[in-house]
Every structure is written in structure tokens, then in C-alpha cells.
Symmetry: C2
Subunit: 246 residues, 2 copies
């Protein structure tokens, strides 16, 4: 690799490592190798005093006497200016070991290309510090793992798949459910009752499966989704809706 600066200094590689949905066995061999080999492991968390879900998945691999842990806070907020402030701060912290030639693995649950904090760090790094080599290690997404846990196909033959976050306004959801063979609804916990209204109207309530905390010991697969109405649901949850049966 040509990761040498003008002064001949060697930069560390910034790895974005997907570690799967929660079960440490659903990590790839490559993710394990990189997490064991880098001197700095970086995990995101939403609050300074809180824990990191990603750290729980990888903690059994860490060797504290030769690896350092960097915990970066990215608050859950829609305030873009506030978020950018935290991204900038995170980038500065990541640059310290990388400029000293140390590799850093940024751990993301699931797959790094799907709704991950790593995507923001990656975009900033490429824009402002293109001299830092970056490598993305794909992982098993919670979407694929949830389908496996539910024993439900995602797509087959000539079928079409749509993946939507929770913000389905107006008739958007109806429209997508009518045009696609399978629809995956992420962060469904916030809007479950509204989703159930739509599924009932379309007579599709028996075509849906709800999966929460996929791959963890608390994993839950619910086929009677109507029973979820009015319930307090997990943040790490999704729903798969198949137009066709079987």
C-alpha cells in the first residue's frame, strides 16, 4: 500500500468493521482477525455514561494489555448541527492514532454500509483526510439475520425488495407494500400502531413478522403482529412483510 505521507511517515489504516447483528458467532473470520490485530478499537455509543451495543459483541476478543479502547459518543438527535459537532470531535480523536501509524478498527453492529455511524466518519475522512487509507469489512446485516431467524425468505426469483426506515409519510407505505414483493420496515417500534392500521387495511397483517434484538439471547420473533399494538417495543427491531405466502 502507498499509505506514506510526503515526509515518509506511515499512516494507520482506518477499518470500518461490521460485526453482525449481536451473536458473536455471526461475526466474519475477517472481522475477528482485524479486531485482534489492530492496536486501537473504536466503538460508538449514544451517551457518555451509557454502554455500547457494539462493544458487547466484541469484548471477548479484546486484549487490554495490547489494545486500547476508544469510545466515541454520537448522541441520538435530529439536530444536524449538534451531530456534526460530535462527528468532528470523533474524527479528531480517530486521527491521533492514525497519524501515529496505528491501525484503528471502528466497530459497527450489522453491516457498515447500512445506517451506520461509520458512514459519517468514512465520508468525513475521505473528504478531509484522503491520505488516510480506509477499508470497509462487510458484515451480516440484522435484515438478513432477522429473515433467517424468522425462517422467512427475503427475495426469490424475480422478486423485488424494499428497505425503509421508520419515516413513512402519508400513503408512501401503502404504495411500497403494493409495488414490492417484500418490504422491510426498520425502527418500526416508533410507529407500530400506524403500520398495523395500514397492514389491516391491505389485509396483510398475516404476512408480517416482527423480530427484535436479532442474534442476541433476548431475540424475539413474533408472527402474530396484531398482538404488538399499544406495546412498548425494542429499539433494535424490524418487521418483514411478504406479499406472497410460504
Amino acid at each position: 500500500m502507498t499509505n506514506l505521507s510526503i515526509g515518509g511517515e506511515k499512516f494507520g489504516t482506518f477499518y470500518g468493521v461490521g460485526v453482525g447483528p449481536g451473536d458473536p458467532e455471526l461475526m466474519t473470520v475477517k472481522a475477528q482477525r482485524i479486531l485482534r490485530q489492530v492496536p486501537v478499537l473504536c466503538v460508538p455509543k449514544s451517551r457518555e455514561e451509557g454502554g455500547s451495543y457494539a462493544l458487547g459483541i466484541i469484548s471477548h476478543l479484546m486484549e487490554p494489555n495490547r489494545q486500547r479502547l476508544m469510545e466515541l459518543v454520537f448522541p441520538m438527535t435530529k439536530d444536524r448541527a449538534k451531530l456534526e459537532e460530535y462527528w468532528d470531535k470523533g474524527l479528531d480523536q480517530l486521527l491521533v492514532p492514525l497519524r501515529a501509524g496505528e491501525d484503528v478498527a471502528f466497530v459497527t453492529e450489522g453491516d457498515p454500509s447500512i445506517y451506520s455511524t461509520f458512514l459519517h466518519m468514512f465520508a468525513l475522512m475521505r473528504e478531509r483526510h484522503p491520505e488516510i487509507p480506509v477499508e470497509v469489512v462487510p458484515g451480516v446485516s440484522s435484515i438478513n439475520a432477522s429473515a433467517a431467524a424468522a425462517g422467512m425468505p427475503l427475495v426469490d426469483g424475480a422478486e423485488r425488495l424494499a428497505i425503509l426506515p421508520a419515516t413513512y409519510e402519508g400513503n408512501q407505505l401503502v404504495d411500497v407494500l403494493e409495488r414490492f414483493d417484500t418490504v422491510v420496515l426498520l425502527k418500526v417500534h416508533r410507529v407500530m400502531d400506524r403500520v398495523l392500521d395500514v397492514l389491516e387495511k391491505l389485509e396483510m397483517v398475516d404476512r408480517a413478522v416482527y423480530v427484535s434484538r436479532c442474534g442476541s439471547p433476548e431475540q424475539r420473533v413474533v408472527t402474530d403482529v396484531a398482538s404488538l399494538r399499544g406495546q412498548d417495543l425494542e429499539y433494535l427491531s424490524l418487521m418483514i412483510v411478504r406479499r406472497r405466502r410460504g
Copy 2:
């Protein structure tokens, strides 16, 4: 597990194991464990005399003195009756070890829930032989691995993702490209020139990346997709189109 028949006979478990897109390091730890532990490994291939892509990914794990290989042929055809004949034949072959109490791992490249032959075997098994226990082991899909190889996000924030097979008729493709933030086009090799026409019309040709044989030593990432016009392309290829830049 209660996998006992009425006569007290114990059935083997039918595993559907996703082994990732091609690089053996992108296999999960769980997939490796199951592939090492079962007595029968089953791989699909499209022709009797041909090779199996899935077998190439796992062959380094096989121990021929204690594991048997079962190669099942599933021809590439759109003739449903002919396909069903092969599925039935495959099911019969799988049932022999399973009924003798031996576990069988059916190997699928990528993830078993996304356009895999395993889905058909799984559906038939559940319908006709519900007494056989089945477990699906998710894997890294070539979609996630291609995004990682291209250094391209799939979805972020409130974005929407659509995954389409090659059969986009009429204005369907235009419609989806206008409504979704990211569109993944599978089996794009067959229809590349037509896709390029659409992308040029929508002025999106610079928002697309083509990835073939992702995760294998022959992996190819092409950002100048216009250069692919008229070329003879790989079967194992896809295109990712992002509405937004960066």
C-alpha cells in the same frame, strides 16, 4: 430439540448456511463451525459436469475422510416444471442422510434469504417433511460486500433502499430510481445497455458503480459505468445507484 419421530428415531438437522460472497474470510464463525461439524455437505451447481461456486468457497474446510459431499444439480432454466423436477429429486437425496439422523449443511453463496436455491429446498422441506428440523445461518450478502468494496454507502439516515433483479420492464426502473435513494440492480449483465440508456436519460450515470465477482480474486469495481456498454459481462455482477453524491 424435539426432533424425534414417532418411532423414536432421531432426524438430522437441515442447515441452510450462507458462506458470504466468495472470499473465505467473509464466512461467519458459525458457518465455519457448522460446515466442520456436519457429516454431509451439500452444494448446488447448475450442470452435472460443471463446478460449484459455493464449493470453491468452502473446499478448504472439508475433511473427506469424515465428511461426504453431495452435489445437487439445479439447472438455470425458466421452465418451472423442469425446475420442480430437479427440486423434487434434490429433496429426495437430502432426505436420505436426514432420515438416518445425519445433519446436512446446504451451502449457499452470500445469504440464504436472498435469491438462493436453498429457499426452494427449505419451502419444500417445511411443506412435505415438517418433522425435519431446519436452521438458517445468515451470511454476508454480495450486496453488502459490493458496497464495502466500492466504498459506497447503501443507506443512511432516513434513506430508502430498493433491490431489483434484472427484469425491469417499461418505466419501472425510472420509477424506482426516482423514488428510492439507493437502488441495487442484480444480474445487471443481461441488460446493461438498457440500464445505461435509463441512467443517461436521468443524468445519473455518474452516480452508479458496477461490481463483479465481489470478494473473489477476480473482483472488479468499475466507476466509469458508461465504459461497460456493449461489453460481455460477468454473471456474478451488480450495480449500485445512489441518488445523492458522496
